[in-house]
């Protein structure tokens, strides 16, 4: 039924691709939207930059704006050394932003409403921080868990809390994006289903249906903001975590 608010999150196998062990791998609707995101971003950026105009046109201006926006975010949170990870953060930001925004179009699928996707992205950030942190700082990376100027007798407690908060980072990082997108889409769908339910209930129902309609319009605007904001939050948290790997001293 179209009014089921959970139906929109259904993964549908479009065609099978092969098998890894006993697990069947298929090209799903989620995969299609991921591929679409890659195509959209690539066309937007590569086409935008193709004219190399000194005075940019609309698309080039938008592409440059995105570039500068992400670059400034990294520079302000992780310093110039953080620019090593510019392609990584840029890819994360544009990928999440695009799938979030595409998912707001009615009848589409939102890739980031699946915890496995957001968790993988968050874990990739977490592992990057760990690997780069140990590769660059060696054992000094553990300084991250030992804040300076703390009395010795409460140090064990502080270190325990720091380690715990460090380990819980990928969880909060992934659940924040996942939950925001999931809840937003469920809310939209529930209010949208009120419109069809009321619309089927005669003349008063149609008049009454304008209220949820107005709400859905307002919610769509809000979700547009959330879609951007969550992509930005994901990117800026990535920068902050990477900053810990670059400068582990508190």
């Amino acid at each position: 039924m179209a009014t089921d608010p959970i139906h929109q999150f259904q993964i549908v196998n479009l065609f099978p691709v092969g098998k890894i062990g006993h697990t069947e791998i298929a090209f799903t609707n989620s995969a299609a939207y991921m591929v679409a995101a890659v195509v959209i971003i690539s066309i937007f950026l590569i086409a935008g930059a193709s004219r190399r105009a000194l005075v940019p046109g609309r698309i080039q201006s938008a592409a440059e704006l995105t570039y500068e926006f992400v670059a400034n975010t990294i520079r302000s949170t992780a310093g110039t050394e953080g620019m090593k990870f510019f392609p990584f953060v840029f890819t994360l930001f544009t990928f999440i932003l695009t799938v979030n925004l595409v998912g707001l179009i009615p009848y589409t699928f939102t890739v980031t409403t699946h915890i496995v996707i957001t968790a993988t992205l968050a874990l990739s950030v977490f592992l990057t921080v760990l690997v780069y942190g140990f590769w660059k700082n060696g054992l000094h990376f553990f300084n991250l868990f030992v804040p300076k100027g703390i009395p010795v007798y409460i140090l064990p407690l502080i270190v325990f809390i720091e380690v715990l908060s460090f380990l819980s980072r990928p969880i909060s990082h992934s659940v924040r994006l996942f939950a925001n997108m999931l809840a937003g889409h469920i809310t939209l769908k529930v209010f949208a289903s009120f419109i069809t339910l009321l619309g089927g209930a005669g003349i008063f129902g149609i008049v009454g249906a304008t209220l949820p309609l107005a709400l859905v319009v307002a919610l769509t605007a809000l979700e547009l903001l959330v879609a951007f904001l969550q992509a930005y939050v994901f990117a800026i948290l990535t920068c902050i975590y990477l900053n810990d790997a670059i400068h582990p001293g508190h």
Binding site: T28, M34, V38, S50, T113, V116, I117
Partner: protein, 177 residues
Amino acid sequence: MATNSHTEQPSGHKGAFPPFDSTTFASQLVWLAITFIVLYVLMAKVALPKIGGIIESRQKRIADDIAEAGALKAQSDAALAAYEKALADARAGAQAIANETRDKQAAEAEARRKTLEDGLNAKLAEAEKTIAATKQAAMANVRGIAADATKAIVERLIGKAPADTAVDAAVGEALKS
């Protein structure tokens, strides 16, 4: 529950909340890895260097233009300074010429005045000399006339002409007093 029109149903979909349906994880992960890596490579190798290059070249161009404008400004400043110096020099020159001319003319006028004054003084002295001579002559005449007159008067009074020396002495006595 959702009765799907799709014939191909993911197994275990009944009742399971789709985001937590672990049977779909493998497919999603594979495609996430593929698309993310492809996007990363496209961004890192193609798109970002391109856009970064555009922005950099624009900044370089702007910096060059500003530097050129600065050089031109320095040039115009130098030209202005040269012009002002030339103007000041010309003014000083004009001042000097004016001073020189004024001094020369003053000196000339002074010299002319002096020669004129000398001439006048000489004339004055000559005139005074003439006056004195004339006066002396006149005085001498007066003495002669007085002597003649005295001689005539005395002759009329006493009927006999007095001696010239006596008359002369008497006139001298009278003129002295």
